[in-house]
Symmetry: C2
Subunit: 452 residues, 2 copies
């Protein structure tokens, strides 16, 4: 047999601390602004929704935040995740490049999302909270929080975008198997939901509406329920850094170091979780890894958006966050990579992009599925459509290396498997998959009036 395919770490090597890049930024992140007062928000503004421990992590300037043992105890059901050398893909591409991927699909719900779900449930439970609310689109995040709540003996209330609730019954079933209550959103359970249903009884729902419902339930619970978010926020990205920290150790095993590190970016959490430790080494240790975010042309937040203060949700109820945005009223075309259909981008990722510390590339839907199928037939894993964006960029890099006749170490994060997305593959094979471009005029309208 030839050399190693999987770089594994013993569960004792699960990182003992998360990495907080805020400690290594030359300039701090721009403040989050209260839309009413125009002033930076403080912990009290967030307290109705989040436990104090997470609010503290959101603004912490500490470089390392210790991971509590009960969280590491759960992590080790599937962590450390493997780092693969894609030897079969390299042969198919006939490239001198070495391709590696970190595989987060080995988690029990098939993506990186439980890395933060477990942490968020834990900290809420520590502060006496027994119930969490959240929204979910396709269901990746909802099933992760359902799992986390089940493990910390909490109840979980998930508002699932109605069209996905109907189209992806299996994700709903997983949430129920872990004991969560799942409601199609818009629902009759909240003012937000009822007011939408009055105007549009057949509304298919949206992530924006579902957020409004989940937030309302927490905010009006008299403190008994808190709200949980699966991406965008600083503490969420930080919890995901276990991915990149493990990868660093695994590259040591492999005796190589990435020239390029790639992740797909929707809200930014899996991209950041994988990439931030490499960004740190660029900043602090003088490394020069190119860090590339992959996004869909249907929702090209980093490649075509603007760095402005905008709302995090469609309904414009959250604080104002400085981020790359297409405008909170921009509705991305229905690409199958539902996790990448977000008008904005995590403030940390946005700041890194604005400061020239990371790059971004957009890809069209069919090109992404071409890459997904090429990958699957070489490496056997069927990727989620989101993760396939990272594959597409990695394959392009490997082919460029071949053209240039140069070796190169390419690493990407395979954030999840596609077991619940096979309908998208069907459409692809049937030739029914549209290639969407964003509408530049629509974006221009959507960002009008936003300020820097």
């Amino acid at each position: 047999m030839s050399e190693t395919t999987k770089f594994l770490l013993d569960e004792k090597r699960i990182p003992e601390a998360w990495y907080n890049i805020q400690a290594d930024l030359a300039e701090p992140l721009p403040p989050v602004i209260h839309p009413g007062t125009g002033q930076p928000i403080g912990p009290d503004d967030l307290a109705p929704l989040f436990p104090m421990a997470l609010i503290g992590q959101e603004v912490s300037q500490e470089r390392w935040i210790e991971i509590p043992d009960p969280i590491r105890e759960v992590y080790r059901l599937w962590r450390p995740t493997p780092l693969y050398r894609a030897r079969r893909l390299e042969r198919v591409l006939d490239t001198p490049a070495h391709i590696y991927y970190k595989y987060e699909g080995v988690s029990p719900v098939g993506s990186h999302k439980p890395n933060t779900a477990i942490a968020q449930a834990f900290y809420n439970r520590e502060e006496g909270i027994r119930a969490l609310t959240t929204e979910t689109g396709a269901g990746q995040w909802g099933s992760s929080l359902a799992l986390a709540c089940s493990f910390f003996d909490m109840s979980c209330e998930v508002y699932m975008v109605k069209v996905s609730y109907t189209q992806k019954p299996y994700r709903r079933s997983i949430m129920r198997a872990f004991g969560a209550d799942v409601y199609a959103s818009p629902s009759e359970r909240t003012n937000a939901g009822r007011s939408i249903l009055e105007q549009a009884p057949d509304s298919p729902g949206s992530l924006g509406i579902a957020i409004s419902e989940a937030v309302e339930v927490a905010a009006t619970s008299g403190g008994t329920k808190k709200y949980s978010l699966g991406s965008v926020l600083n503490h969420v990205l930080m919890h995901q850094t276990v991915i990149g920290l493990e990868a660093l150790e695994q590259f040591e095993q492999a005796g190589e170091y990435p020239d390029v590190a790639i992740g797909c970016a929707g809200g930014g959490s899996n991209f950041a979780g994988f990439a931030l430790p490499f960004v740190r080494n660029n900043i602090v240790e003088g490394k020069s890894t190119r860090i590339v975010a992959a996004e869909p042309t249907a929702c090209p937040t980093l490649t075509k958006g603007s760095y402005l203060y905008d709302f995090g949700d469609t309904a414009a109820t959250t604080p104002l966050i400085k981020m790359f945005t297409l405008g909170h009223s921009f509705i991305p075309a229905p690409v199958h990579a539902g996790g990448l259909r977000y008008h904005g981008m995590a403030p940390i990722v946005s700041a890194l992009h604005d400061r020239g510390l990371i790059e971004a590339v957009a890809a069209t839907q069919n090109a992404v599925f071409d890459a997904a199928v090429q990958f699957a037939r070489a490496e056997a894993i069927l990727p989620a459509p989101e993760a396939a964006h990272a594959i597409k960029v990695a394959i392009d890099e490997a082919l460029r290396a071949k053209e240039e006749g140069e070796s190169r170490v390419i690493a990407f994060n395979l954030s999840g498997h596609g077991h619940f997305d096979m309908g998208a593959y069907d459409e692809y094979f049937a030739g029914n998959l549209p290639d969407f471009e964003y509408d530049a005029e629509e974006v221009e309208k959507a960002i009008a009036g936003l300020s820097a």
Copy 2:
């Protein structure tokens, strides 16, 4: 953190040989009989369907059969699979027992089936065959063979039971993603299919019919296509012994040895793959592990069947095999554990049961799903309904240990995850899952006329 959860092996520890229990049986297996001549069949009878290498393995008396490097190369995409200590389940059950499970769901298609699919594709390819045919019920086996054919650059033709073809579109999509041609069976492509469709245009199909179609296509291909079977045969069980061989090494790491080893049994391949190395240690090294096969009360082949010569398929076209059987005309009730709905049992497993070397237990459907959900909420993995039969028996053993106030090491094979079976969980939570018992009179009729 407390002690180890996952016992991992480096990919260099993938076994170098499969274990063939025929070498350690006190008496040989009863011969397979040609239904026309009444005489034992020879290699020539099987040559139209199988390559000579596999026919040789089927009857080999060698204890160890070397695993060719190209097969081990593919195995290491997911092997060695982890052995888990179910510490969280132990706490929930409050049992003094130590519970371990070997997890085969980490394979790219989510079950143990690729262990033999890869081997079968390889040996066919070595003998110049470029196309394989097979049948599949729910799709586990079909997707494994599709993967294997994709890896060895072969075409793959899968006849999928029509009712599953309609109800489980995602499994079909996986096969297509790996490049296989998938046909709903009965199809218009074969005499067998056409004759069924003439009589019953709306036939939902059955595994028996799909086997007839796949066999016909291979048998009438003039030697260009061979047929591949996912269970029952001796060489298939042997390929699966990588499971138990790895587990033995992992138990050495754990410093324990199973008092009980459990697997679910349909055709017998995952059960045997896990259990045979432990059976060997019972026979050869004087160990005394109880070996338990778990089956559904809807299809209680080992617990209620008889040890007789019977056909392997419903249409009565195969050679006669001595096995535990409910009669080849017995149609099991539609339990969701489709992989356990087989009227017979692998000859090796049948002989071990007849000789008192293994035990068997049957469980009802709701009890099995109770166990599946209890397991998922403790260990995070959503098991396939088939594998949940093993979980049910393991939990019962652990509770018995608690009653008796005795420690005990319980091991089971978790043969696959349930990502494509969530519809069954939905029915369970809705309270719509029937508990089936087999019909003793029907079985009596079905075995009438069979001989020992």
